[in-house]
């Protein structure tokens, strides 16, 4: 792809990501749901690149054996995943406002048996990476060429089961696996880095992650660091992951919690919450303005 086309595609994907952020907020507003705003906004650009550029999936054949697999290990960002799957065509966006309602397929955490296009039921942290390792090893055994993508929250990296999966994937040279860490620097109680003390901004240091790149390199993974909101960089990272043989790849995507909605950006308190009708309006207006700017830039 020429550089010019790549830039054009990056801009197109960025517009898509803002459209999806708006769709998410409309879904949450219309279903009167509370939810994980911070982590769903930080991960949206990653999901957009995966679903609209990188992954081989077919919404008309959701059980296609050769499809790439996707695991949202940070299942609490289901409010980001649902609009992505609707936009991709797995189901109509008209049913999104059932989110969190009784017997809805959509809720705080994804259920693979209820959501079309969803490959793993997640929500309990530290489960997605090992599930993805199993999927990738099954692909090798079945001689399939599908790839497996798992998105892990930075806070959940602390879970011991992840480190088991990290060593297993490296041990078996599972190179059809690509993990992405949504490095938004916060978990529920506060920032991940720091001495572990209470400050006005929450706990400073829920669990030290850094130097996460060195740790993962030492475990035998190919590590790529990138700006998780830069579409050129994200596309490049996933291309590099696909080219990497003999070991699994992890993309440490530097992101901003709450990205796109200025009053929640970089605020741990908005890990989870409920917007007022005014806050929905403010947020949607801001996202719409950004989308308009991007459209003008494209034109």
């Amino acid at each position: 792809m020429s550089e010019e086309n790549r830039e054009k595609l990056a801009l197109e994907l960025e517009r898509k990501a803002y459209k999806l952020r708006i769709m998410e907020l409309e879904m949450m507003r219309d279903s009167e749901a509370s939810g994980h705003y911070g982590g769903s906004m930080s991960v949206m650009d990653i999901l957009t690149v995966l679903y609209f550029k990188v992954m081989r999936v077919d919404p008309h054949n959701e059980d296609w054996e050769d499809r790439d697999r996707f695991v949202l290990s940070k299942g609490h960002a289901c409010n980001a995943l649902c609009p992505v799957l609707a936009e991709k065509g797995f189901f109509s966006r008209d049913i999104l406002p059932t989110f969190n309602k009784l017997d809805s397929p959509f809720g705080m955490h994804p259920d693979k048996n209820k959501i079309s296009g969803c490959d793993a039921s997640t929500g309990s942290l530290g489960h997605g990476a090992p599930i993805a390792v199993g999927m990738a090893m099954a692909g090798k055994y079945l001689k399939k060429d599908y790839r497996v993508y798992v998105v892990v929250g930075d806070g959940e990296v602390a879970e011991g089961s992840n480190w088991e999966a990290i060593e297993i994937a490296s041990h078996f040279k599972v190179d059809n696996l690509c993990a992405t860490i949504d490095r938004n620097k916060y978990s529920l109680d506060g920032s991940t880095e720091g001495p572990g003390v209470f400050k006005e901004g929450g706990i400073e240091g829920t669990m030290t992650l850094e130097p996460i790149d060195k740790k993962l390199e030492d475990f035998g993974w190919h590590v790529i660091k990138c700006d998780g909101h830069d579409f050129i960089q994200l596309m490049g990272a996933y291309d590099e992951a696909a080219r990497t043989k003999g070991r699994p790849t992890v993309i440490i995507a530097d992101t901003l919690k709450g990205k796109g909605i200025s009053f929640i950006e970089d605020k741990y308190e908005w890990h989870y919450g409920q917007f007022t009708p005014e806050q929905y309006k403010t947020a949607i207006d801001e996202l719409t303005a950004t989308l308009k700017r991007l459209e003008q830039k494209s034109a």
Partner: protein, 329 residues
């Protein structure tokens, strides 16, 4: 080599425990079905998967001491069409990765078979860390989970085969079995095991003993035969399918014998006795006695002596039946 479905004790002459039977049968099944893979967390020698590993190098996955990730991996493999059998000690198959079993396998109803060996008190001198007296309670409380507890060699053949043949999450509980418990069944053809069905292994109308797994089925059978000599006619039901449980057989036993004693190598809370009681109290209330580990952490010692200590051997059971009849009739 005969087909599994026509195995007799002669086909098992080269093995000595139900664990060996598991390893042997899994090889037979894997020869027929390329979707079957086996996973071990550093206990291949104990779970008897060594021959499987030798015959199917690409299908045996050794993951070291990583029970939690391994259970999740099984879920990922099953979701891509494989049939993973994960075997380790029952204590480590059901407690350490408990949430992974529940959330990654049972909840999405994935086709994973978990085999817990060395269950109950059968790890004797291993003590509480290696005893599994909670596993049945844990596994049967998970929706979608099938729980199978075979008692002898032939029944283990049938249980492993049945587990492989149905699609869904399944827990198979095996004891260490170094003591070679007596064989109830002589051939697969005459072993009546079916998922969801109990087997009456001795008729009688004075009282019913319901047991699952070795050695308690055998001990109950021996006790009942001794009592028969004294004119006490005890019905013995082998409840190898703990979940789904055979309600009909329980209700029939309650109606025809008027009392039920359950016997299990497990805590009396939440296990086989509780499963039977759930049916009895709702369908046909009759007096019951639950025999098992009385909600304590089991002490260590030789398995035979531990089973005797907790009243699970035939001589204790003879006394238990007589006391029960005295109090209730």
């Amino acid at each position: 080599m005969a087909e599994i479905s026509s195995f007799t004790m002669a086909d098992l002459a080269d093995v000595t425990t139900p664990r060996d039977v598991f390893g042997k049968v899994l090889i037979e099944l894997a020869r027929e079905d390329s979707r079957i893979v086996a996973l071990s967390t550093d206990l291949m020698l104990s779970t008897k998967l060594k021959d499987f590993a030798k015959e199917f190098p690409g299908r045996f996955i050794e993951t070291g001491l990583t029970e939690q990730a391994t259970v999740s991996m099984c879920a990922g493999m099953a979701s891509c069409g494989l049939i993973p059998f994960f075997a380790t000690f029952a204590a480590f198959a059901t407690m350490r990765p408990c949430e992974q079993v529940r959330t990654d396998i049972a909840y999405p109803k994935l086709n994973v078979k978990i085999v817990g060996t060395h269950a109950g008190l059968s790890m004797g001198p291993g003590g509480t860390t290696h005893h599994a007296t909670e596993d049945i309670a844990i596994m049967r409380s998970m929706a979608n989970m099938t729980v199978l507890v075979p008692s002898d060699m032939i029944q283990t053949v049938k249980v492993v085969k049945s587990a492989a043949e149905f699609e869904g999450p399944c827990y198979i509980r095996l004891i260490r079995g170094a003591e070679s418990p007596i064989d109830i069944y002589q051939s697969v053809e005459e072993c009546p095991f079916e998922i969801g069905k109990a087997a009456v292994i001795k008729e009688g109308n004075d009282v019913t003993i319901i047991a699952a797994g070795a050695p308690v089925v055998q001990e109950s059978f021996v006790a009942a035969n001794e009592l028969e000599k004294e004119g006490i006619h005890v019905r013995v039901i082998d409840m190898a399918s703990v979940k789904p449980i055979d309600k009909e057989a329980i209700v029939k036993a309650a109606e025809e014998t008027g009392g039920i004693i359950t016997v299990e190598d497990h805590n009396i809370m939440g296990g086989v006795g509780s499963a039977v009681a759930e049916v009895v109290v709702q369908e046909r209330p009759v007096p019951m006695k639950l025999v098992g580990v009385p909600d304590v952490y089991s002490t260590l010692g030789p398995p035979d002596e531990l089973w005797a200590k907790y009243g699970l051997n035939s001589s204790s059971l003879i006394g238990t039946v007589k006391d029960f009849l005295k109090k209730t009739k």
